[in-house]
């Protein structure tokens, strides 16, 4: 959280987190603070008047005189806030909206704003509010039960347990996908997109749990309620997992928009079956073009139907195979390319011409396990070369690559079009662009 601030799940602009629900949550906290502000002032004055009851304990830590408990039990803030020795459910819920100072409020406003804004990508505002309240209240309750303090009448307040519950919710919904983080890196204009799971360890385990763990014991206690944070996070995670289970949220869907599309259109169309058509998967990608899990499903389905997919659909499939996707899931894309080439299909020229050279090397490296695959790889590189204009930087590199491959490829005719002998180093093989798929297939037979 401190190192890299999650700005948004990696989704299209139309699916990006909205600001209105987050502002509403901020407004509610501000109003609540103003409502109890007089009470806070009165409580502060009251506590000030009890300073004479504070003494130094035998171990050097502050302790209270025995008669102080009676006075503390009637402190004004306990009318709305829970304490270990005096709490009820109503005050547990109210405790989420109360903040001890303006600084405490401002810090939590940032957290609430970010948490509600991010979570509303996946759940409606009302659900996010319920998770905030339930998770926050459970966190406060756990901190009341588990913490050890000088007096049982110290109120536990603040929205941080609820914020951590929202954080848990975000991780449940976006764990398999990427997050857009804000960092001060000028070369990336302040943003960097990374897999959410990579930073789960750093954000949650290291920063929040390990660093906080050293303060869970009485000797280390500070004014921050770490137990509430940890329990709030766990509660939010459990609530979100339960909600996903109840919703039957498929694990390959990222945003609420996709889920609604799935529930309302895809499920009725396919009768609840998970084996949906490529066209339907492509429609889902229109909702969220960053969903790599849907792209993986498209690769799998396309491989099964490599010989029957219409060229127009093939063009659409490869439109989504971005360099980032190729880099992250090169084996899936390579598998699809191999199956298509085995079926004598032509790869979309636009995709080939837009693919960076290093991505092609990455794909080619996935096609080296058997001599048959190596021939397919050679044909793939040849097609890639054809898609690039002569004289460019990529062309120069490709020529070098072809030279290298020709030196090690078997000289047998693969029957798949180009062979090393027909594309020898330095002589650019001019393809017959009118050659149809049928002709290629006929030559094979």
């Amino acid at each position: 959280m401190i190192l890299l601030v999650p700005m948004s799940p990696e989704v299209p602009r139309s699916r990006a987190p909205k600001i209105v629900p987050a502002l509403a949550a901020v407004l509610i906290l501000c109003i609540a603070f103003l409502e109890v502000y007089d009470l806070l002032l009165a409580d502060g004055e009251y506590i000030e008047s009890l300073q004479s009851f504070v003494v130094s304990g035998p171990d050097g830590r502050p302790a209270l005189k025995p008669e102080a408990s009676g006075f503390l039990s009637v402190r004004p803030l306990l009318r709305v806030a829970p304490a270990k020795a005096d709490w009820d459910i109503e005050r547990l819920i109210l405790g989420n909206f109360i903040h001890g100072s303006l600084a405490h409020l401002l810090l939590n406003l940032v957290g609430v704003f970010a948490g509600v804004r991010l979570c509303c990508t996946f759940v409606p505002f009302s659900v996010a509010a319920c998770i905030f309240l339930l998770g926050g209240s459970l966190g406060l309750w756990a901190s009341l039960m588990l913490s050890s303090e000088v007096s049982g009448y110290i109120p536990h307040v603040g929205a941080s347990a609820g914020i951590f519950a929202l954080m848990g919710t975000y991780y449940v919904y976006n764990f398999r996908f990427r997050t857009r983080y804000f960092f001060w890196i000028p070369s990336r204009r302040g943003f960097i997109n990374l897999k959410t799971s990579w930073f789960f360890f750093l954000d949650v385990l290291l920063l929040e749990l390990v660093l906080s763990a050293a303060q869970l014991f009485p000797e280390k206690v500070d004014s921050v309620d770490h137990i509430a944070h940890v329990v709030g996070f766990l509660s939010g995670t459990a609530l979100a997992l339960g909600l996903r289970l109840a919703q039957r949220w498929p694990r390959w869907l990222q945003t609420r928009g996709e889920f609604v599309y799935w529930k309302e259109i895809v499920v009725p169309r396919h009768g609840g079956s998970q084996f949906v058509s490529i066209e339907t998967w492509l429609e889902l990608l229109e909702v969220n073009s960053y969903n790599d899990l849907v792209k993986l499903r498209i690769c799998t389905t396309a491989r099964l139907n490599a010989d029957t997919i219409p060229d127009a659909i093939l063009e659409k499939i490869f439109r989504w195979a971005s360099p980032t996707f190729v880099r992250l899931y090169s084996s899936a894309v390579a598998g699809l390319v191999v199956d298509l080439l085995h079926q004598h299909r032509l790869l979309p020229r636009r995709w080939l011409s837009s693919m960076p050279y290093d991505s092609v090397i990455l794909l080619a490296k996935q096609m080296t396990s058997s001599p048959e695959l190596q021939k397919t790889m050679f044909r793939f590189v040849s097609e890639y070369r054809r898609a690039h204009p002569e004289g460019g930087d990529v062309e120069r590199k490709l020529e070098l690559l072809m030279t290298k491959l020709v030196g090690v490829m078997p000289e047998r005719d693969s029957g798949l079009g180009d062979t090393p002998s027909s594309a020898s180093a330095g002589t650019r093989h001019r393809p017959d662009r009118s050659r149809s798929r049928r002709e290629t297939a006929t030559r094979k037979h």
Binding site: P186, A214, L401, K404
Partner: protein, 186 residues
């Protein structure tokens, strides 16, 4: 992109080797990372290392001051090492911290071509002659010895990329390496 033309290489005997060589040629052809990008990676690494360093310290302190005494008292387990658990855990923490430092800077550069900060920003550390990743010995020379000298000499070695045309620092020169920008927009 540069205009790197590979020199004579030893004979290849497999497709994988040919592709690996092509990849290395491509890496050598990528532009050298400029000073500011490298500085960003350095700060990112410093933050990551600080967090891990503090995490290990807190975790070990917690075990030394709370968990081991609790085990000692509750379960009645006796042992020489339990007599001063805080000192024991301080040593364990130091070992772990050195291990993390080594893995973060040296091992990561040797196996993946850069520390996590560099990899996140799309930078790769490679051999300037043939584009290969550096072996463990040269990584140690670069990351431990070279950087100590680079930063120890009033940071002169680390500021070298500002004035050199090829953006190489003193530790790059010492280890015959170069930092390339592989991904990301210029």
């Amino acid at each position: 992109m540069g205009s790197y033309v590979p020199t004579g290489r030893k004979k290849r005997n497999s497709i994988s080797q040919a592709l690996a060589e092509a990849e290395r040629d491509h890496l050598l052809d990528c532009p050298n990372a400029d000073y500011f990008l490298r500085a960003e990676a350095l700060v990112l690494d410093a933050i990551l290392l600080y967090l891990m360093w503090k995490g290990i310290h807190h975790g070990c302190t917690l075990i030394g001051t709370q968990l081991i005494p609790w085990v000692h008292a509750t379960l009645g387990i006796q042992g020489e090492f339990l007599s001063s658990p805080e000192t024991l855990m301080a040593h364990v923490a130091l070992l772990l911290q050195i291990g993390v430092l080594f893995a973060h800077l040296v091992w990561s550069t040797s196996c993946y071509g850069g520390s996590p900060g560099k990899l996140l920003l799309g930078l790769r550390v490679i051999d300037i002659a043939d584009g290969r990743l550096l072996d463990l010995g040269r990584c140690t020379l670069r990351e431990i010895v070279g950087k100590s000298i680079s930063f120890g000499a009033f940071g002169f070695g680390a500021l070298l990329p500002l004035v050199r045309e090829d953006h190489r620092a003193l530790h790059d020169l010492m280890s015959q390496s170069v930092v390339k920008r592989v991904h990301g927009k210029p």
